[in-house]
């Protein structure tokens, strides 16, 4: 089971965090801080897995962003790497050549896509098509709504 997933930049800025275990906020912050420092200190050719406290950390860097998952001991490391890759593929497909800025400005979408892929720390749907279909259905619902924000957004409200 995945315990948490973190996305952070090369500068150590946290871009997304998703926790599947209940920790107090203080502990979450501590873990995040320590793990980011640990991962950033590693060199490029190093192994993508590390034993860290009582979890197994699997991480991979895509351009300026690190994707980092904390798994339990019996989880499969290589497949966790591919789970990260699948998530990146989904983001890429949805945003069209995703970059860090897309995730910053549309963090809620990044969450929604992750929720379709992983639920409660377990992989839910591995088919790229099915996940994108689910997200498309959500977007459709949103478009059908009256574009109430239109006027406000353009300062007419």
């Amino acid at each position: 089971m995945m315990q948490f997933m973190l996305l952070f930049s090369r500068q150590g800025k946290l871009r997304l965090q998703k926790w599947y275990v209940a920790h107090p906020d203080k502990l979450k912050k501590k873990i995040t801080r320590e793990l980011i420092t640990t991962v950033l200190a590693r060199k490029p050719k190093m192994c993508s897995f590390l034993e860290w406290k009582d979890v197994k950390v699997v991480y991979k860097r895509y351009a300026s962003l690190y994707f980092c998952c904390a798994m339990e001991q019996e989880d499969n490391e290589l497949l966790t790497l591919e789970l990260i890759h699948r998530y990146v593929e989904l983001l890429d497909k949805y945003f069209g050549s995703v970059c860090e800025l897309d995730i910053i400005f549309n963090f809620e979408k990044a969450y929604f896509i992750l929720d379709e892929l992983v639920l409660g720390g377990e992989l839910q749907e591995t088919s790229k098509k099915n996940v994108l279909k689910a997200i498309a259905a959500q977007d459709l619902l949103q478009e059908e709504e009256t574009p109430q924000g239109f006027f406000e957004d353009h300062g007419l409200g």
Partner: protein
């Protein structure tokens, strides 16, 4: 939401941390006033502000308002508003928040929606929070959604994982009964996504209740077989870079690891073996793509298959094939693969079937240890060398590890030192080699040699006469180096103090030379070492009266007699007086050679286990590589163990002050002195199983948090064991999860009933275990209980009081038949005998009480000597009954016992004899 985008841009444009905080505070004030203002906000505005709050929170700032507005969004009829409300709640709300009660109604409404997208939103929220309240509120609804025929596939997937999350919190929500088979049959679902989600759920259910869900094995094997034989076009979008359904394959392989062996049915077993072979064959095929995703997915399945093979540990050819495959990976270009191959081989090394095959890769592994660029890979190589070490390759491996230690990373040195020390001790056939290795360790990595390591070498030298002269000579030579590590001075000081006389004949190491050599290091050492050296000096006075004057001079020196350090001052003045006042007889008695230490598990091993819980391979190979036979242990004089002043005089222990700063309850050689049981994560506790030899009820384990009591009863070859878990604290203990391990799987069968994972404050709950003795066995099962207290994971490990004697049926018989049987059982293969020293003074009444609780019938008036005890009993096992006779003869003068056990089966005689030895 333009406002949000503007805000995010503003934050990104902030030049400094201060500017960012200022901008955020401004926004927070704005939002607060909007929320508090009279004007009612519409859904869009609420959504926008809630989203901004969420963004601020994700930047790392605390958010203490806005929750109610988010809750309001849940009941919005606009999906986008609802979705943001749910997101805010799942990111910001903790499981124990009062808010949860407020949102349950909204979730209920959405669960009943006809729109599957709304239903999924609700399910995702439940799975994200997964609190007890939620389990109560939705415990009946979600299982229905999962198995109902009308539910859409996407909803089923979410329902399965949602249920899994709630099950982890409150295991009782799974209905059981007819549901079991319906849940298992989800493995047959035509939709791959449903199967993938359901497999995770079933895996958790199986862990809790393996018997009830046994039916899943056949289905899982069938499904796996269909996947591994599928071509990559068959599964369409579930094929990942030409690998058919890797995630589902891995989950199925994991599921099968819950059973040993996965199936008794030959058909299923055969089919599984075919699957595993197919996976191996595919690994040999040329890759269908050059992309790393292809090889990762393919190898992920392969590694999981190997895990299953290791878990089953029964098919020699598969194990060897796994080993060869991993051997190829050892020289792969990908660091990740090398890392995993080393890790997986570590497990293979502990199987008797593949141990030899692993050893073939020794050279490559040694190269990995030396050449890998990544320290975590080097660490794996060290672990593997440790696991693959046995009598045949110990010298070479230890040599290589020593050589590598000179340049090894600081982060792994301490652990390597422990490993080298353990291997050297375990596989030493010649103890001079052992002494050399440890002295080399100190020379190369003195700073990383912990107290336990040098205590241990002294323990061993003291207990083994044949190595004492060699040890004295070697430390003497080592001390001649111009710079030597303080640990070397300690070992040297101790050993020369005890055995310096053995090398004093040589003029090059005459008493004067020995003393001056040691004393030349004195001024460079810490107070603790100086204290030890002072003790050495007085011992030298005893061994060599001719240097008395010179030593007295040292004691008298101001730096000692008036030392600012109280301990040194006291030692100097007391030793000085002792050397003046005492006659040579008294001196010889006071400073008599140290008695041998009691043999126990190497204290170093305990340290290593503590450092890396769960990563020290179990000793599967004990039969092949026995511990070096140790000279019979003479129990240590009790005053040495309990009376600290006498121990101090002997100078082995450092003063309590020093221990307290470094001490964390490690077992040192005088361990009983300073052990301080501390609660730390992953405490490994060894309870004294021996006391349960003679009784069935009592407290098995206790610390500040938890008490585990046991009550058991046995009939024939069956036993019922009740464990009582008591929470001693004011807070609930969570995720209580006991697990059993034992090696004699086919000799002893133990089933554990599931138990509540939560132990409320002050509460006690009971768990039942049933045991069946199939054949006589030696190893009692080890139970490890993991739980979390205050969110800190804890682990306790203890032996279950389940020993062979529990399956005794007492047998009455008269003297005539006793002696007739005794004589019949006179063969070499039937007898076992041990002579051992009494624990204290011999107490016949106490011995009698103990024997009465052991399980055999005490037979009075049979032995002509009234002090002797004879007993008879039958050991019940499923496959046979073994009659067993026992005679225990106390010898009051010598304070010794002689124990003889005779039975029709050699292993039974041995085991009963081993159990009873040293017990009286």
């Amino acid at each position: 939401m333009r406002g949000l985008a503007v805000f995010i841009s503003d934050i990104r444009n902030c030049k400094s941390k201060e500017a960012e905080i200022k901008r955020i505070n401004k926004e927070l004030a704005n939002i607060r006033s909007k929320f508090k203002g009279d004007k009612t906000l519409d859904g869009y505005q609420k959504k926008k502000y809630v989203c901004k709050l969420l963004f601020i929170f994700l930047l790392g700032h605390d958010i203490d308002f806005g929750h109610m507005e988010a809750v309001n969004l849940l009941s919005s009829n606009k999906y986008s508003e609802k979705q943001i409300g749910y997101l805010f709640i799942s990111v910001l709300v903790n499981t124990n928040s009062d808010l949860i009660k407020l949102i349950i109604q909204s979730i209920k409404n959405d669960l009943q929606s006809r729109n599957p997208i709304h239903v999924n939103l609700a399910l995702q929220c439940i799975a994200n929070i997964g609190s007890k309240d939620m389990a109560e509120a939705f415990g009946t609804e979600i299982p229905k959604l999962l198995v109902s025929g009308d539910t859409m596939d996407v909803v089923k997937q979410s329902a399965a994982l949602c249920l899994l999350r709630l099950f982890r919190k409150s295991p009782e929500i799974i209905p059981g009964g007819e549901w079991t088979s319906r849940i298992i049959h989800l493995l047959n679902d035509p939709h791959m996504g449903v199967v993938t989600a359901a497999t995770s759920l079933i895996d958790a259910l199986v862990k809790k209740n393996p018997d009830e869900y046994k039916g899943c094995v056949t289905l899982a094997v069938a499904r796996l077989s269909r996947i591994v034989t599928a071509s990559y076009t068959d599964l369409q979008d579930y094929t990942y870079y030409f690998v058919p359904a890797p995630w589902l394959s891995v989950k199925l392989l994991r599921l099968l690891q819950n059973y040993t062996p996965p199936s008794e049915e030959p058909g299923v077993k055969g089919r599984l073996t075919e699957c595993l072979e197919t996976i191996f064959n595919k690994a040999q095929e040329p890759p269908k793509s050059k992309k790393v995703q292809h090889s990762n997915a393919k190898n992920a399945v392969l590694f999981e298959a190997i895990s299953l093979i290791i878990h089953n540990d029964s098919e020699a050819n598969l194990l060897v094939r796994a080993c060869n495959q991993l051997g190829q990976f050892l020289s792969n270009r990908e660091t990740n693969l090398r890392y995993l191959a080393l890790e997986s081989m570590c497990h293979l090394a502990t199987s008797e079937f593949s141990h030899e095959a692993v050893k073939k890769h020794q050279e490559v592994v040694i190269l990995s240890m030396k050449m890998e660029k990544d320290v975590s890979v080097r660490q794996q190589a060290v672990d593997l060398l440790y696991a693959m070490c046995d009598k045949t390759n110990a010298e070479e491996i230890v040599q290589e590890m020593l050589a590598y230690l000179e340049t090894a990373d600081y982060s792994i040195r301490e652990e390597m030192v422990l490993k080298v020390a353990i291997l050297a001790e375990k596989y030493a056939t010649d103890f001079t080699w052992y002494v050399d290795v440890i002295l080399n360790l100190i020379r190369i990595a003195g700073d990383y040699v912990s107290e336990e390591v040098w205590y241990r070498v002294i323990q061993i030298v003291i207990n083994r006469e044949e190595v004492q002269a060699y040890a004295a000579k070697t430390v003497f030579e080592a001390l001649q180096a111009p710079t030597c590590h303080e640990n070397m001075v300690k070992v040297g000081g101790y050993i020369l103090g005890e055995f310096g006389n053995l090398i004093a004949g040589d003029t090059k190491s005459s008493p004067q030379v020995q003393f001056e050599l040691l004393h030349s290091k004195y001024h460079l050492c810490s107070a603790a070492t100086r204290a030890l050296l002072l003790s050495t000096y007085i011992k030298l006075v005893n061994l060599f009266p001719e240097i008395k004057n010179r030593v007295q001079e040292v004691f008298r020196a101001d730096s000692n007699l008036r030392s600012a350090d109280v301990e040194l001052q006291q030692r100097a003045s007391e030793y000085l007086q002792l050397s003046i006042v005492a006659s040579s007889d008294v001196l010889a008695t006071v400073l008599e050679e140290m008695p041998a230490f009691p043999e126990r598990e190497s204290s170093i091993l305990a340290v290593l286990k503590k450092k890396k819980p769960g990563r020290i391979p179990d000793e599967v190979r004990d039969s092949k590589s026995p511990q070096p036979s140790i000279t019979p242990a003479v129990p240590i004089n009790s005053t040495n163990n309990t009376n600290s002043s006498s121990a101090d005089l002997l100078g082995l222990s450092t003063p309590p002050g020093t221990i307290a700063t470094t001490g964390n309850g490690l077992l040192d050689v005088l361990g009983d002195l300073y052990t301080t049981p501390k609660i730390s994560p992953n405490t490994v506790q060894q309870n004294n199983i021996k006391k349960f030899l003679f009784k069935n009820n009592g407290v098995l384990f206790e610390n500040d948090l938890i008490q585990i009591g046991v009550k058991s009863e046995y009939r024939q070859n069956l036993g019922r064991i009740g464990l009582f878990y008591g929470n001693k604290t004011q807070f609930p203990i969570q995720n209580v999860h006991p697990e059993l391990h034992w090696t004699d799987l086919n000799k002893l069968n133990v089933q554990m009933k599931p138990m509540e994972p939560v132990l409320e404050a002050g509460a006690q709950i009971q768990q039942m275990l049933t045991a069946e003795c199939i054949e006589d066995f030696t190893d009692a099962p080890v139970m490890s209980v993991s739980f979390s207290y205050n969110n800190v994971p804890q682990k306790i490990t203890m032996k279950l009081p389940l020993t062979l004697n529990k399956f005794f049926e007492p047998t009455e018989m008269n003297g005539e038949s006793f002696f007739a049987r005794w004589k019949n059982l006179g063969g070499e293969q039937q007898r076992a005998q041990k002579i051992f020293k009494a624990q204290g003074s011999i107490d016949l009444a106490a011995t009698r009480t103990k024997l009465a609780g052991f399980g055999m019938q005490l037979l009075d008036g049979i032995d002509p000597n009234p002090d002797n005890f004879v007993c008879a009993g039958i050991v019940h096992t499923r496959i046979q009954q073994v009659g067993c006779l026992m005679r225990l003869e106390p010898n009051k003068q010598a304070q010794m016992f002689r124990l003889t056990v005779r039975s029709s089966k050699e292993s039974v005689s041995q085991e009963i004899c081993n159990l009873l030895a040293d017990q009286f």
